[in-house]
């Protein structure tokens, strides 16, 4: 049964404090991209090339629906944990920690999807990957190489970066 309804529409800002974005997401899933200029790479990025101005910050995937297995679960991925981190909440006059509206909204949205299959609407920026999967190779490392950081490669990148800067 497919039911749809709309609730109130209001915009909230959510901090993305030092988090990682999604580099690969399967076809049939839904993603939310940041708008141009909203996110900037920490440390000015690396030498892997220029990053896309819009990054995929949130991914939603219904395993059961996409793989035609009715009992399968859903997966939601968000690359920054500050929205559930109490240390980022405001301390109120009543002596309580309170999260911002945006953080509450994000948590509710994620929980609504994983538990109830409720998907944010397309006009909110969440787009469906209908025809192709998403992959940004500049953000990816081969899985075999990701178990440990290859220090020598990083050192080379750092040296090249410093040379670029001094020029």
């Amino acid at each position: 049964m497919l039911t749809s309804f709309t609730t109130c529409c209001c915009c909230c800002q959510v901090d993305f404090l030092y988090g990682n974005t999604i580099s690969s997401w399967p076809k049939g899933g839904h993603v939310l991209r940041s708008k141009a200029g909203q996110l900037s790479p920490v440390n000015g990025g690396s030498l892997r090339g220029q990053f896309s101005p819009t990054q995929v910050v949130l991914g939603l995937y219904d395993v059961g629906q996409r793989e035609e297995r009715g009992v399968s679960g859903r997966i939601a991925v968000f690359g920054d944990s500050s929205f559930i981190d109490m240390s980022t909440y405001a301390f109120t006059d009543e002596g309580k920690y309170e999260s911002s509206a945006g953080k509450r909204e994000l948590l509710e949205m994620l929980m609504a999807f994983v538990n109830g299959g409720i998907l944010p609407m397309v006009q909110n920026g969440v787009e469906e990957l209908k025809h192709d999967s998403f992959a940004d190779k500049r953000l990816m490392r081969a899985l075999s190489a990701t178990e440990t950081v290859d220090i020598s490669v990083l050192k080379k990148e750092e040296t090249l970066r410093n040379a670029e800067h001094s020029r």
């Binding site: 900037s40 920054d80 944990s81 909204e105 109830g116 178990e147």
Partner: protein, 144 residues
């Protein structure tokens, strides 16, 4: 606490992912993992998601190779260079799980803010009759 306010029943999982019965829970919340994940855990979670209907909410944090490199230091006691084992979250380990479903998180950290709009539609009805969730090392949710 936020989840309890929303009406969820939360339980902490204080062991590996192989040590819970996914039939009893609706979702697993994996938050900020810093340790490595055993292959047995990945296999079990994949099976829980695909066959038992367990849902996953994965919340990661920063992992930036350049920041890791800059965090290295020379240790006088051992006379060797020490490197951070991982960042705020062990994204390479997390990617071994996500990769089973064709997903990956990037290895470059970003900072800024994003916009969330409140506006929902029902995607489809729930496949399970109860709400349940769990945080890695932090929470498991029981039928509410």
């Amino acid at each position: 606490m936020q989840l309890q306010k929303l009406g969820y029943v939360v339980e902490l999982l204080r062991g590996p992912w192989t040590c819970f019965d996914a039939n009893q829970y609706g979702s697993l919340i994996i938050s900020d993992i810093e340790e490595t994940i055993a292959t047995e855990e990945v296999n079990k979670l994949e099976s829980d998601v695909r066959d038992l209907g367990l849902s996953l909410l994965v919340v990661a944090d920063w992992y930036d190779e350049m920041s890791l490199l800059r965090g290295s230091f020379f240790d006088d006691n051992t006379h060797s260079q020490w490197f951070p084992v991982t960042g705020g979250c062990n994204i390479p380990a997390l990617n071994t799980l996500l990769d089973r479903f064709g997903m990956q998180l990037g290895v470059q950290a970003f900072s800024g803010n994003i916009e969330i709009t409140r506006n929902h539609k029902v995607f489809h009805t729930m496949s399970r009759g109860h709400y349940a969730h769990l945080f890695y090392y932090m929470l498991l949710l029981l039928p509410g």
